[in-house]
């Protein structure tokens, strides 16, 4: 299994990965579904260009953390749905743990220095 090492330069990457893995973890999603759910569930806080999702999704798929499968919808329409693999679930749990560690340390500092 891949191991994410959460550091300041990798924050954005692992934040995006955790968000995407968490949304896909709730059921099979295609790109647009995913982008909408991210926006809706965060009340627009995580609103980003949908095009930037593809490299993240394809990288996760290449690493075996999610599985993309094509589904025929009607005679001329086929969609690529992503689902979480067993490896992806473990990776998501590991990421979550690291984010929790990050927030603990972050709050410890912010909490002490906050007015």
């Amino acid at each position: 299994m891949q191991r994410a090492i959460l550091t300041v330069p990798t924050l954005t990457r692992y934040c995006n990965e955790l968000l995407i893995l968490s949304i896909i973890g709730t059921g099979k999603k295609h790109g647009y579904d995913l982008a909408r759910e991210l926006e809706e569930q965060s009340d627009g806080f995580f609103g980003f260009n949908h095009g930037t999702l593809y490299p993240i999704l394809h990288k996760l798929e290449k690493d075996g953390l999610i599985r993309g499968s094509w589904k025929q919808e009607g005679p001329r329409r086929k969609r690529k749905y992503y689902s979480l693999t067993a490896e992806g679930k473990k990776y998501r749990a590991s990421l979550l743990q690291q984010w929790e560690g990050f927030f603990t340390h972050f709050r410890a500092i912010i909490g002490e220095t906050a007015p």
Binding site: G31, Y32, H50, G51, T52, Y54, P55, H58, K59, K80
Partner: protein, 258 residues
């Protein structure tokens, strides 16, 4: 045609990836764009506004395109991309040349060590030359498709007709050579065909000589015809495999824009 065909074609031009990977990415983008458009229409936008909003939402920046190419590139392509442009072309040519040379040498060895080519027909050399040409041409196309993964359909089709054409030339040469050898073997003795057709009795002074001529002819012609058949089969097989691969690439490309 999809309402986003031009956008997809623009992305396709920037996305330097082999098929079917490129078409899969374009297909995914196409239906996400259409979903976004339909969602915008349902939200009350006008058609033009809905399309523009979908385009903005799914705009692929140069950085995103570069990242997608990085993810989907083959290991060989990644290795070549690390080299400067000039070296790349030189290296690709060198690899192609080495592959062709290896194929030619292996084939030449196989032809030379075969027993039936020892007493060969004069037509065997041009037939073998055609065979090497077909091998080199086929290897070049297969290298482009499967190793370099450069899927420019027009460039791939260029010169492909030479494979069946050379197979036909090879057949004509082989059949022509077969009859000319027969004529030559018959004429070498007395009148054309005469000595091979007249059946001599054992003990006849010419019988041994006739038998040698017949055996020589059979040996030469069988070697020639075997090579002709092998070269023709190879040419047609290569042509079929390459043509099918190009058709798959074409199909993958057109399916995105329909």
């Amino acid at each position: 045609m999809s309402g986003f065909s031009q956008d997809l074609q623009a992305v396709s031009r920037r996305l330097d990836l082999p098929q079917p990977r490129k078409s899969r990415i374009l297909c995914e983008l196409k239906y996400d764009l259409e979903d976004a458009y339909e969602h915008n229409i349902a939200a009350g936008m006008h058609e033009r506004e809905a399309a523009e909003s979908a385009r903005r939402a799914f705009a692929l920046s140069d950085e995103v395109i570069r990242e997608l190419m990085r993810i989907h590139r083959t290991p060989l392509r990644k290795l070549l991309d690390r080299l400067p442009g000039g070296v790349q072309t030189g290296m690709e040519r060198a690899v192609l040349l080495l592959m062709s040379l290896a194929l030619v040498l292996l084939s030449a060895r196989a032809v030379i060590i075969a027993d039936f080519h020892r007493n060969s027909s004069v037509f065997l050399l041009p037939v073998a030359a055609i065979g090497f040409y077909i091998l080199a041409r086929g290897a070049e196309k297969l290298f482009q498709i499967h190793v370099m993964r450069r899927h420019n359909v027009q460039a791939l089709r260029q010169g492909l007709f030479m494979l069946p054409l050379m197979a036909a030339v090879n057949c004509i040469l082989g059949i022509g050579g077969y009859f000319l050898e027969l004529y030559h073997s018959g004429g070498a003795f007395m009148s054309p065909m005469f000595d091979m057709i007249v059946i001599r009795q054992p003990g006849d002074p010419g019988a041994a000589m006739q038998m040698r001529h017949i055996t020589g002819y059979l040996s030469r012609s069988s070697g020639l015809m075997t090579t002709v058949l092998l070269v023709t089969l190879l040419a047609l097989l290569l042509w079929y495999v390459i043509e099918r691969s190009i058709q798959k690439i074409e199909y993958a490309e057109t399916s995105v824009y329909l």
